[in-house]
């Protein structure tokens, strides 16, 4: 690289920056290789001298959203906080005690401790950490092991031997040396533990969280603890945003290259038939129009919250959504979803009609009265429920009417398929009138299904 010649880049500095990039990735600031190169160029340009300048420069190259800027700043502060071995926290130098020369080839930890060589110790710790792979830390349970390994790499064995030998000798000078080195060793232990702790904060803090989120996304709705609910809502919101970003802005796609002959000819009339203005064809993409009907009765109690969560996220993504919920009676819930935050909305719907006994027949009748006329060939109907009718008339005829009027009917059932025809489940009969009937009881499945639905509205 050209800049390498102008600003000599020592390998150590490059390593430092690379570790920093890794720390950034760990806190979920995405850094691509190209951005890493930019960061190196930025550092070459501004240097390490001015901390604020370095921070701003790296921030501009690496953090690409307002949230990432926040995370970047915390990470930067943690990472470039180097305060181990500050001078003064060791006791005054004892001139009488000189350590014996160490065995050749080993890092001279003892003499560095004796000389209060803070910079040397910090450097040694960095190097040892590199060899011990401390920054690969992922779980808090690794801290002890890594601290030990770090100390070993720093030459703890040599230090122990020096202490041991000095302790065996009888003269007061050796005794003092042993005492002092023992104290130093204790301080060193603490330093190392702190160092590893900070590495843990840097590299493992967020990955644990991410792991938990990953697990949560694949967890069955019924099995999710109430204290994970908040996490779940964050996930759902993120999912909604992701989907919205992908699908809300593709309404019109210019189809260049296809002449709109009719309109071009018409415009040319003004110029005596000379086509001065060329008009190209556009393809208008249908906006998704979705009707969602959600079962919130007692039999789906465990999943009801998440089905509503789904409804809520769908509401954020799809402009034209009519949402209904039912136990035995069916009501429109669009206004609640619109006005309330997610927690309030779910609670509101459940309070209004939730947790009663199911009556699909009755609910479908209500739907016919309320909304059947609004279905047209652009509408996708999504039904969320277990299809358990309590042995009352399932009104298959109404289901047929819905299917005939709409573009597609999708049934998402929180129960696995093997349960579908057992007991009071009418799922098999309803299924005949669905274009898609699927088990859906994890967040990942939900996301995939919404994507599939939305994608059908895009041109091939």
């Amino acid at each position: 690289m050209v800049e390498g010649a102008r600003h000599p880049h020592t390998p150590l500095m490059q390593r430092t920056l690379e570790s920093f990039l890794r720390a950034l990735r760990a806190v979920d600031v995405r850094v691509s290789p190209a951005e890493a190169i930019d960061a190196h160029r930025a550092v070459a340009l501004v240097g390490y001298g001015d901390r604020a300048l370095l921070k701003d420069a790296l921030c501009a190259t690496l953090a690409k959203t307002a949230e990432e800027v926040g995370r970047f700043e915390t990470c930067f502060e943690t990472f470039f906080q180097r305060d181990e071995f500050k001078p003064g926290h060791h006791h005054p130098h004892d001139p009488g005690a000189a350590p014996p020369p160490p065995a050749s080839g080993e890092p001279n930890l003892a003499s560095m401790l004796m000389a209060d060589d803070a910079a040397g110790l910090a450097q040694a710790m960095e190097d040892a950490a590199e060899r011990a792979g401390v920054s690969d830390i992922r779980f808090s349970s690794q801290r002890r092991l890594l601290t030990r390994r770090l100390l070993d790499e720093m030459g703890l064995k040599g230090l122990e031997r020096v202490i041991g030998e000095a302790g065996l000798r009888d003269d007061p000078q050796s005794q003092a040396l042993a005492r002092r080195l023992t104290e130093d060793r204790k301080a060193l232990f603490e330093e190392a533990a702190r160092y590893v702790e900070r590495q843990h904060d840097l590299y493992a803090g967020e990955s644990g969280q991410r792991l938990r989120e990953q697990i949560l996304a694949d967890e069955r709705f019924g099995a999710i603890d109430s204290h994970d609910l908040a996490n779940m809502q964050t996930l759902v919101r993120r999912m909604a945003k992701r989907l919205a970003a992908r699908y809300s802005h593709q309404q019109r796609r210019a189809k260049k290259g296809k002449l709109d002959v009719r309109r071009t000819l018409r415009r040319s009339m003004g110029h005596g038939g000379v086509p001065f203005e060329i008009i190209w064809k556009h393809e208008t993409i249908e906006k998704p129009k979705i009707v969602a009907i959600c079962d919130v009765s007692g039999s789906v109690a465990a999943a009801a919250q998440f089905l509503l969560l789904f409804l809520y996220s769908l509401h954020e993504v799809v402009e034209r959504l009519d949402a209904f919920a039912f136990s035995n009676r069916l009501v429109a819930v669009g206004d609640i979803l619109k006005d309330e935050q997610v927690e309030g909305a779910i609670a509101g719907v459940l309070a209004r009609i939730g947790m009663q006994s199911t009556d699909y027949g009755h609910a479908l009748e209500d739907f016919r009265a309320l909304h059947l006329n609004a279905l047209d060939r652009h509408t996708t109907v999504i039904i969320l429920g277990d299809g358990r009718t309590n042995y009352v008339d399932p009104r298959i005829d109404l289901m047929r009417a819905i299917q005939e009027r709409s573009r597609a009917v999708i049934w998402l059932n929180p129960e696995p398929e093997t349960f579908w025809n057992r007991g009071d489940s009418e799922m098999e009969r309803y299924r005949r009138f669905c274009h898609v009937a699927k088990t859906c009881n994890t967040l990942s499945q939900l996301e995939r299904i919404i994507e599939d639905v939305l994608r059908t509205y895009l041109p091939k």
Binding site: S32, R41, L53, D56
Partner: protein, 320 residues
Amino acid sequence: MTLSAPAPSAGPLSSVDAIIEGLAGVGYIASRRIATALFMASHLQKPILVEGSAGVGKTELALSTATLLGLPLIRMQCYEGLDESKALYEWKYGKQLLYTQLLKDRMGEALGDATSMDEAMVRLHGMGDLFFSEPFLEPRPLLRALREEGGAVLLIDEVDKSDEAFEAFLLEILSAYQVSVPELGVIKAKVPPIVFLTSNNVRDLGDALKRRCLHLHIPLPDAKLEERIVATRVPGIETSLNKQLVGFVQSLRGLDLRKSPSISETVDWARVLILLHAHALETETVRDTLNVLLKFEQDIAAVEPQIAELIRAPLAPVGG
């Protein structure tokens, strides 16, 4: 692209401090972070993506930079449906048609004495093909920015309003400062323009675009910075009034409003107050001019009853 490209060594972009000073000279009070981003942009030759709520001075930054460098500002406003023919270039169809007619008339003269079809074809190929050539090219903002001899400041405003397809189309320009026109080949910038993209976060921009840009988020300023901005933008303002009105606006931002006033509103308000010969904030004046600061009926209704209180609260530190 390397850093050895001519980077202004003693110009207004030579250091972060020089940038702050230079921008202040043209009436833009930049924070260190803004100046650093601009510094990096000019030295690494990368576009800057500027984000922040409406009215914090995103567009103004590009305007001031152009003034500071004495370069032409080429501005492209993005909107849904914007495509290459409006952003990059278009053929002058009308003229091309006239040219064809002209050609038809002349064709007989030129080829009339050709003895065989082959000879006619040879002559036809011998004539320069002007149909797709520079004279018929209608440059749009992007192409203009690339062809500017001495460099330019290119402002791609509200890029988040454009379609994703257009965003992808921008990538070539932003990373290599060149565009491909199928009929003419690749057009490369002689002097890469300084590019600003602004975004209001209508939608999330693609990673590919973000990756190619430096990112700058301009937050709402703190009171001290805002006072300096107002003082620069509204030269005649009294210090005490400035302090008072900035304090008022700052406390408005603490309220739960649909649209908090940003810097441009503060500046407008300051101008209005000067026009009204106000020397200090009074409940009456504030009520009459509140519509300069707040753009929603509900916000105005929410703030109106608290005006007196809001004036008094930030007054305390001034000691008036």
